[in-house]
Symmetry: C2
Subunit: 547 residues, 2 copies
């Protein structure tokens, strides 16, 4: 693979100077236009020592406006990084839309090193590479332009170059014992590199292999590739935006039409609801099957229809169970703290399902230093300028801590899907993105616990009415809530698909029958206890992450 490169590419100083000025001017203009585009550019440089990775960073920082560049190189992780999945630091450093990110080796460094020095076998190596593929695909699908440059230099040339650097008093520090050690492993390194490049060379994240010997040749190749790729990518994005815009026009019109009819009929529906409130829910819960809606549409049965919404607890049993659960939870959370484990608990559910109440029952038995509740409101502009998962990576728990999300990344396949905020291709691929994300959490040793707290449409109606009455609850009730309610069935289907596609061995969904708050709260607490207990049973795991 690399053989082909060793044909001594060279660019004369004259040729270089002839094109440099024009190229530099074009790049600056592009960088300026990029600010208003809706995608980031991610440049990654990898390859052997002395092949010109650092020089590439310096050159781009000199030629372009550094205020719009994000340059990163990575040493060993800090303990805050060490206590989270290995990609946490890379997510933290992603360039926002409209900017260019530059980095050296980054997510390729560890997998290649581990394989070259036989810390991992072929199978583990390819697994690590597949994680990279998934990561880069996730970013590329969101619009990121990813350009990867492999700076190559054959063993002899590298030796010559490193010797030269060592002789140079002001450069010698660049060459360490480590580098010579690597150099001796050059063959294994090239082999590992070939596997990595082949496996991670995707249409949306292509590798460009550059012969390292001639600096001017390297510079021109990198910079022209950068220029042309940005131009091509921008055109493609614009074309796409045009299509999306038309699609939105159509669907918005349709959506408004639907909404109108919904608003016309919903009062009537809610009349029915009020009448129905007397009837026994249990019986209704049982006879659920494919139904025909008021508008004659076929409504498939969802996992939610199958729930026994009549489950409840007496005050007395509730008090007893609560006491026990709180003591147990307190004990387990302290164990989590001292063993350096961590957990992530998330809550989804219809408006007024009782998420907040359930969360407070949990935190009531935790030490305020050990947990953080993260209520998901609308994103800040720093968050909006990133992939939708970025803001959640931000809040992953450290070792010994618990993060509790009130709503979560599942908004992507719930509200964003139903309300059409996300394009179909966006929410459809979100399932695999989310599974990949949660897999990283659990394989890092974070216990992932997911709750869908459900209430029946009748119960929601009752609670809405109650909120209207109680002054300090009224704020919780917004017109949106009524609008969402009108789309009850659409949400039902979205939830069904979500649970179906994202209940994985590493992160199962727990559906909670929420019509009776007491029952729901106890079920939540016991589920959390069981999950923590199971994790604590597994000895050692996660403990490594604790200082």
């Amino acid at each position: 693979m690399f053989g082909l490169q060793d044909i001594g590419q060279k660019v004369s100083r004259e040729d270089f100077n002839r094109v440099a000025t024009k190229l530099r001017t074009e790049l600056l203009a592009l960088q300026d236009e990029l600010k208003s585009e809706d995608f980031p550019v991610i440049l990654l440089f990898a390859g052997v020592a002395g092949a010109g990775k650092a020089e590439a960073l310096d050159l781009i920082n000199e030629w372009m406006d550094p205020r719009w560049l994000v340059t990163r190189a990575y040493g060993p992780p800090s303990d805050e990084e060490h206590e989270r999945p290995s990609y946490w630091r890379f997510w933290r450093d992603l360039p926002p839309k409209g900017r260019i990110g530059l980095s050296v080796s980054s997510w390729y460094h560890q997998p290649i090193q581990d394989f070259v020095y036989e810390q991992t076998d072929k199978k583990e190596y390819t697994a690590a590479l597949d994680r990279i593929v998934a990561f880069e695909r996730t970013l590329a699908d969101d619009g990121a332009l990813i350009l990867k440059f492999w700076m190559h230099m054959d063993k002899a040339a590298q030796k010559k170059h490193m010797k030269a650097l060592e002789r140079d008093k002001e450069q010698s520090w660049r060459i360490s014992k480590q580098d010579w050690k690597h150099w001796k492993h050059n063959d294994q390194f090239e082999a590992a590199a070939e596997i990595a490049i082949r496996r991670t060379d995707a249409a949306k994240a292509r590798w460009t292999i550059i012969e390292g010997a001639d600096a001017r040749y390297r510079a021109l190749t990198i910079l022209t590739t950068l220029r042309d790729s940005i131009v091509r990518h921008r055109e493609a994005r614009r074309a796409r935006r045009k299509v999306v815009a038309e699609f939105d026009l159509a669907t918005n019109a349709q959506r408004e039409a639907e909404l109108k009819t919904i608003e016309e009929i919903s009062p009537a529906l809610d009349k029915k609801t009020e009448a129905a409130l007397g009837k026994n829910q249990k019986s209704r819960a049982k006879k659920s099957s494919v139904m025909v809606t008021a508008k004659g549409k076929l409504k498939p049965v969802t996992v939610l229809d199958k729930l026994d919404m009549s489950l409840s607890l007496s005050d007395e049993n509730y008090e007893k169970a609560l006491m026990a659960a709180r003591a147990e939870l307190g004990r387990l959370c302290r164990a989590v703290h001292f063993q350096g484990k961590s957990a992530l608990i998330l809550f989804e559910g219809p408006d007024a399902a009782g998420k907040g109440g359930a969360i407070r029952r949990l935190t009531g038995s935790m030490d305020a230093r050990d947990y953080r509740v993260i209520p998901i409101a609308s994103p800040t502009d720093e968050e909006r300028a990133q992939h939708y998962l970025w803001r959640f990576w931000r809040y992953l728990p450290r070792a010994g801590r618990i993060s509790i999300f009130d709503r979560s990344w599942y908004g992507r396949v719930l509200v964003e899907r139903v309300e059409g905020f996300a394009q179909p291709d966006e929410w459809m691929r979100a399932y695999s993105e989310i599974n990949e994300f949660e897999e990283q959490l659990s394989s890092h040793g974070i216990v992932v616990i997911k709750f869908w707290i459900h209430i029946s449409k009748d119960e929601q109606y009752r609670r809405f009415k109650e909120r209207e009455k109680i002054s300090y609850k009224a704020w919780k009730l917004t017109p949106e809530d009524w609008r969402n309610r009108a789309k009850w069935d659409d949400y039902g289907n979205a939830v069904h698909e979500m649970i179906e596609r994202t209940s994985t061995p590493s992160a199962r969904w727990t559906v909670v029958e929420g019509n009776d708050k007491k029952y729901a709260r106890i079920k939540v607490m016991r589920t959390v206890c069981a999950a923590l207990q199971a994790e604590l049973g597994r000895d050692g795991r996660g403990a490594g992450r604790k200082k």
Copy 2:
């Protein structure tokens, strides 16, 4: 001081319920209105174990909308926190404008503990408290509403309460051996608390002492204080905004008038400049003294007028010096890395002074993993929603790293002052805020190196003209640059005052004669080398921060 509190304040359940609903409704309404206000609310709870600190957090989280609350409690610092000044974590967690932040003990915890357990003497204790005063003043001056509650409980009551908690199966975990140890030191603790409260009880950050015994009494006191304080503070802020708005109207009008005249005369001035370019600068540099400007205004001599702007280096000497300095710098940076020291280097100067070039000469001899260049562009909205120093705290270097700021917090007393973006009271108090900030950096062991790279007005003119000619430099030249140039003297005076007021033993300014780029770059590199050398000389310091 506490004696007064022990008079058994109690609130009956009936009274509580009578007022609760109304109070809760009012608080929710206030919280909602707060979102559009330009200040954060900072609530801090301190006091003995079991006096109800955690309960206060829980109560407020239950009564108000948690999406707009920022709740924090602190355990021991992580190493990323440990490697920065102790206030770094508190700055990170400050609530943005429009939100309410809740925290327990936070910046009071360590100073009080250290004093109670005789890790510090009275002098060190009061010094730590004065740092708190400065910190809270900085936030309050920026508009923050700071409310501090001391939850008090006398020794006997505390013992009774802790015993009760221990008997309670679901609460017993709240009481640790540590707490009993603290309890035994109750007298020292109360003494320390009295000193702390007296010394940190400022008009803009008042303490409210609350007897801990009765939960309902505590709740009502805290929540009514919160409600009334927000209302009062909001009114005060609104009144202030009105004044500021009027002030702005006036000054804007005046500013525009000035600008017009400036624009009329500046072409003429620049004609003169061009004519003058021939003359020997040295001679001009010498005869600087109080001058009368074209507009007949008196122009005081500044530190800048005293510079010998003719200083320069021959190409040959430059090459020699550069070689030496790069080797030296490379060596020192590696030492910094391995000894876990850290440095912060910042650059200010007129447009086209050559900051970027100087920075690249520095980074050229550093390992990309060891430094980060932070170019200061306009703040993001997360940054805009915080105190102006917040965004700089964000980028403090870890142990073993170097942060290089291209422009910095001095914008507050330069562009923001001259352009009137900051109110006079804001930029005037900025000097002490900045000194306090930099003092924290250096006392933590971070080497602070500050450069003002200066060029003469003639030289700037020459460089502007040159930029106009060179296509890939033209982007650097904006209309703003010409406008700033028109205010040359105002900037000169601002710079003079800045250097005068912020050149402290812990963070000296180095003024660099920048007309000759070669000379300036070498002076910068040598200054950095000398500063790092001096720090490395001091053995041990900072090393403690390295893992």
